[in-house]
Symmetry: C2
Subunit: 190 residues, 2 copies
Amino acid sequence: MKAAINLFGERGYENTSVSALAKAAGIGKGTIYSYFSSKNEILLAFCEEELAFVYKEIQSRLDPNASLADKMLLLLMSQFRFITRNKAFGRTLLREMTFPKEMTIDKSRKVEEKFLELFVTLLQEAQQNGELSQHLELTITGGHFYSLYLMALSAWYSGRLLTKEDVQETLELMIEQTLTGLIPREKNAS
Amino acid sequence: MKAAINLFGERGYENTSVSALAKAAGIGKGTIYSYFSSKNEILLAFCEEELAFVYKEIQSRLDPNASLADKMLLLLMSQFRFITRNKAFGRTLLREMTFPKEMTIDKSRKVEEKFLELFVTLLQEAQQNGELSQHLELTITGGHFYSLYLMALSAWYSGRLLTKEDVQETLELMIEQTLTGLIPREKNAS
DNA sequence: TTAAAATCTCGACCAGAGTCAATATTTGAA
DNA sequence: TTCAAATATTGACTCTGGTCGAGATTTTAA
């Protein structure tokens, strides 16, 4: 893991071969494969550590008095900025996290769960404030916001959204829409 | 392309090497790479044809009198069933479609655009029916439903949703939530 | 008709992910 | 202490995606 942190950080994920990793760690390549099932799983493990740190960051920045929409936007954008810090790196990670192979499902689930927890915490607070309907199943609702995050990332990687500002705007709009709904309301939301 | 359709269909994408493809097509491997920029792009081209067919299917099955929610569910589930017909195949395709490399962005955009069009068509109809707020930017709203689709697929590939029935239930709930919104309403929707 | 330029085709070659049988080390029972 | 069974380590090897320069083919224009 130390070798991974060094080399991935230095040359990036794609430009680091497993052999190089093994040499840097002073072990044989085969040994690596007896601890990780694939190169991607090393990446996942690497991110587990990084993400724990990012989550702490986010939680400390959350203004408890802000609206749910604002908090959600902060959460999504922080995560977005982290993951796209290095484009190729983020892509590989997202591919493996979002559509994992059987081989890496466990690790990927674990990382994802941590992320979903953040949503649920936020939503619980909002529900207590009355900002959110009481009858919602929060895991599902968490998934709902998670889906916006995936969408934004996909749009970014496909070039449909070009700048971080575009992403932020789109997310803002979608969060708003998610909260108020798409069908006509008799009363306008405040 | 003919060789691809045969071999991918027969042995699957992962088990078909580019060399095998070349041999089956009776051309050199290098020649393939002067028409496609990567193996994944062959997959994308392969799917362009398949998907056009699926879209026709879907549109013919849509009952014009059904509610937007029902139509949307049909659309998402049809697509879901198609893509997960072969798990590994779908995974590779989704990875490349959702988080494409610069190399394949064009192809992937093209395929995706066709898919998004379906959403927009549906939404336009709904807007005319008064089932949808007038002031919505439909591209964004289309993206909104697209995001639910991604989410469902991700949950399926991660094993958070295990059966197609789970997926359908979750999508149903989320579509409902998307339409009515998450914040409390004074009046219940009819 | 011809030959130079532009384009296309090819497969030997390279690099890197992942395998596996051989070897080294550790464990534990007598 | 001993040695056999269990476990861990290793790097040579395989397989495949992708590259590239050499050579074949087509186009163009005189």
